[in-house]
Each structure stands twice: as structure tokens, then as C-alpha cells.
């Protein structure tokens, strides 16, 4: 069972940073006018932020972390844990979190490591940092989460290019013996690993001359094996099948009902999918915020980005929140946060 409950963890603040450069799906040439309309209606995605060459996930996470450190006047020497959750790392090795320890000017006593997960990454990352800090040996931690998904997209693939945007976020966690427990339900199914995949470049299938060969899957869908491949229908079905039962199990486990929660923050995948999940759980629309209209699917950063852009000032007084994330892996999970007082800082934009 992936169900667990973690005590003594207080989520104090969330910050998010997006690239300044914005692209609109109405300007995307590979789609006809009626396809554009259908795309926006179905996915809900109108605009996306695209990081320029050289701007990495870690740079945006760093800005977000600095914003929190300044706002809370945190002594950098006191940050014990730094976890970076991403699938767009600076290098194959070393781990990006370690480079960030130095760039942020944190102490050499910092516990720093990476977690390589996508869509589900925020919920998983939160569970790992919470578990690590729960016994009180570590008092302050930073969870840095995000992706530069556009790095691997083929501009000539209309089935992926209009969907994704870039973001880097930071979440500030404190040890707090008075905090309500955070409950998690975490799951995985590797049989679906090919549903979202970058085929080449790992040790299973290294780069060869074949890697850069452009393959035309159908009209408007051209990509090579460095690019992200997405089986939309399989991912759609997986999310429809798994997300709602995962949340229901969590609520049964912690003995609450959907009425006990103020907000349900879903991974921002696409509107049709998220709305189907919302209806399955019979949630009122005002409890389910969206950021995807302006930022697209922002991978592991989508939950904190949605909180920063949609819930600023709204979750600072004993809010109860469900987070639910699902996607690449396949990997999915939910978290129930009770009596939350989370400060969402203003969104940062970066050139």
C-alpha cells in the first residue's frame, strides 16, 4: 500500500518562476484555425512559457528559492535539506541539487539529492522531504521542483508542442511538532513506461546516427528519438482510470470526505481530463483551480505554479487541500494537507 501519514511538517511557502517568453497556441502554424479552436477547447491551453537556450530548470528554481529566503529572512546556514525534483537536469552527473547547494550558498552540512520524476514529482518530492524531516533532526528544507519540458519537444509535432510550458518552483518546509499530519497515497505502474518517453540517450538505448532521424508518424507529427513521445490516448485513459480512485482511497484512509477540503489542486495535464476527474469526484468548479490556460502542462511544477498563480492569499488560514498528480512513469499520487497556512509568493518572470 502506498498510503502513509507524516507528522510534524509545516509547508510555509511556495514560490514559482517562469520564463518571460510567451507563446500562444493561436500562433502555432501547424494547426488549422478549427484545430486551434478544438485544441484550446479540449486541452484548455492557450499560452505557454518557453525558456530560452541556456535558461535551465535549476536557474528558475534558484530564483524561486532566493525569493523565499529573502521573504522569510532565512539564515542559509540553517537549511538542512535541499531536494531537486526534475527530469531536466543540468548534467547527466553530478546531481543538480548539489550544484544548487553551492549556488544558493548553503552550508556543506546540507543533505542534497535529486529525484527524477515528472508529473507526479511534486507529491512524491513532498513525501520524501516530509519523511526525511519528520523526526526533527532536520528543521528547515527546500523542495525545488520543475521542468524545462520544451527542451525535448519537436516543434513539428502538433501532438506535443502546443501542450507544454516551463517552470521552476521552490517550497519551504519546516519541522513543526504542532503541524497536522500530511497523508499520502503514492502509486506506480511501470508497464506503461512507453506512454510518455524520450526514447534515446540513456544506457538502454544510447544515441546513434539513427537518433536524429526525423520520423513522420502522421501529418503534423514529426519527431526524432531525442524528442518527447506522447501516447495521448493511453495517458488520458490512465489518468481517467487512476486519479479519482487514488484520491478516494486517501480520503478513506484519513477518514475525511471531499467536503472537508477547500481546494483540490490537480496536476495541470489537460482541461478535458481534469474536468472528467473533477466530475467523477463531484467537486464544485470553484474548488479546482487551473493555471494551464496561461502556462500549459508544466510537468512536476504544475501544482506549485497553480498554487502561486491561483491561490495566493487564499490558503493562509487553516486551509485543507488535496494535491493530486499523475503522468509519466506511469506514476501518480495524492496528498492531503490539513490546517495549512501556506504563503504563495508573487510569480517571478525571468529573461
Amino acid at each position: 500500500m502506498g498510503l502513509t501519514s507524516i507528522n510534524n511538517i509545516n509547508i510555509r511557502a511556495i514560490a514559482a518562476c517562469v520564463p518571460k517568453k510567451e507563446e500562444s497556441n493561436f500562433d502555432y502554424e501547424l494547426l488549422t484555425e478549427s484545430e486551434k479552436k478544438l485544441l484550446v477547447k479540449t486541452t484548455g491551453i492557450e499560452k505557454r512559457r518557453v525558456a530560452r537556450d541556456g535558461l535551465c530548470t535549476s536557474d528558475m528554481c534558484l530564483e524561486s528559492a532566493e525569493q523565499i529566503i529573502k521573504e522569510f529572512n532565512i539564515n542559509k546556514e540553517e537549511i538542512d535539506v535541499l531536494i531537486f525534483v526534475s527530469q531536466t537536469l543540468d548534467y547527466f552527473l553530478p546531481a543538480t541539487s548539489i550544484i544548487l547547494q553551492d549556488r544558493l550558498g548553503l552550508s556543506k552540512n546540507t543533505v542534497a539529492f535529486d529525484i527524477v520524476l515528472g508529473c507526479s514529482g511534486y507529491v512524491y518530492g513532498l513525501s520524501v522531504i516530509s519523511g526525511l524531516m519528520s523526526n526533527g533532526n532536520f528543521k528547515k528544507g527546500l523542495l525545488l521542483v520543475g521542468d524545462k519540458s520544451t527542451f525535448s519537444l519537436s516543434k513539428e509535432d502538433k501532438s506535443t508542442y502546443p501542450l507544454f510550458g516551463d517552470v521552476g518552483t521552490a517550497t519551504y518546509i519546516e519541522y513543526d511538532p504542532n503541524a497536522s499530519p500530511i497523508d499520502f497515497n503514492l502509486q506506480s505502474d511501470g508497464s506503461g513506461y512507453e506512454a510518455i518517453i524520450i526514447p534515446d540517450g540513456g544506457t538502454r538505448s544510447p544515441w546513434t546516427e539513427e537518433t536524429d532521424k526525423v520520423i513522420e508518424i502522421e501529418k503534423g507529427v514529426k519527431r526524432n528519438k531525442r524528442n518527447l513521445w506522447l501516447d495521448g490516448i493511453e495517458v488520458f485513459n490512465f489518468s481517467l482510470r487512476e486519479a479519482a480512485p487514488n484520491i478516494r482511497e486517501l480520503l478513506e484512509y484519513n477518514n475525511t470526505t471531499t467536503d472537508d477540503y477547500d481546494y483540490f489542486v490537480f496536476h495541470q495535464a489537460n482541461k478535458l481530463m481534469n474536468e472528467s476527474i473533477r466530475k467523477k469526484l463531484k467537486l464544485p468548479a470553484e474548488k479546482v483551480p487551473y493555471s494551464l490556460q496561461d502556462y500549459g502542462n508544466t510537468s512536476s511544477g504544475s501544482i506549485p505554479l497553480t498554487m502561486v498563480t491561483q491561490l495566493g492569499g487564499k490558503i493562509e488560514n487553516k486551509s485543507n487541500i488535496i494535491l493530486s498528480a499523475f503522468g509519466v512513469g506511469l506514476s501518480w499520487g495524492a496528498a492531503a494537507i490539513k490546517n495549512a497556512n501556506i504563503k504563495c509568493l508573487p510569480l517571478i518572470e525571468m529573461d
Binding site: S34, L38, L39, T43, D231, N237, L240, R241, N270
Partner: protein
């Protein structure tokens, strides 16, 4: 399960720009002017919401007409 005319009404409702009664059981849905791969997702979501049944990618590939799709949904309900 309700009869196919109700099923067709629901499909027509989901396709914004289609005149009602354009679709009949023999309609090859991929040949509709309004068809695109995203319409596949719309059908899947509709069927999931209305009938609590999952139509997967292979099911969809094997369907040519609206009648085929109706039959798949019906067989999964039973």
C-alpha cells in the same frame, strides 16, 4: 444500455459545429469534416462520464462506424 439514437445525440452534442442528425449508425466518424485525433479524446471522456466505461486506443482503432463504437461500449457495460 440506452439505444443508439441517444448515444448519437450525445456525440453530436459534443461536436460543436455539427448539424444535428448529421450522424447515423453507419457514419464513419473519421471521415467527418470535424474529426481530429483530439475528437478521440472527447469521445473517450464522454463515454467515461456517461457510461463509466473505458475505451482504449486499440478499441478506438478497431472502430470504423458509430455503430462499432456503440457496440464496444455496450459490450463493456455487460
Amino acid at each position: 444500455m440506452e439505444d443508439i439514437s441517444e448515444f448519437i445525440k450525445k456525440i453530436e452534442f459534443e461536436i460543436d459545429e455539427i448539424e444535428s442528425e448529421t450522424i447515423n449508425p453507419e457514419t464513419k466518424f473519421r471521415e467527418l469534416e470535424e474529426w481530429s485525433s483530439m475528437m478521440g479524446l472527447i469521445f473517450i471522456a464522454l463515454i467515461d462520464t456517461e457510461y463509466d466505461v473505458t475505451v482504449n486506443g486499440d478499441d478506438l482503432i478497431n472502430c470504423v462506424t458509430v455503430q462499432d463504437l456503440y457496440n464496444v461500449v455496450k459490450s463493456k457495460i455487460q
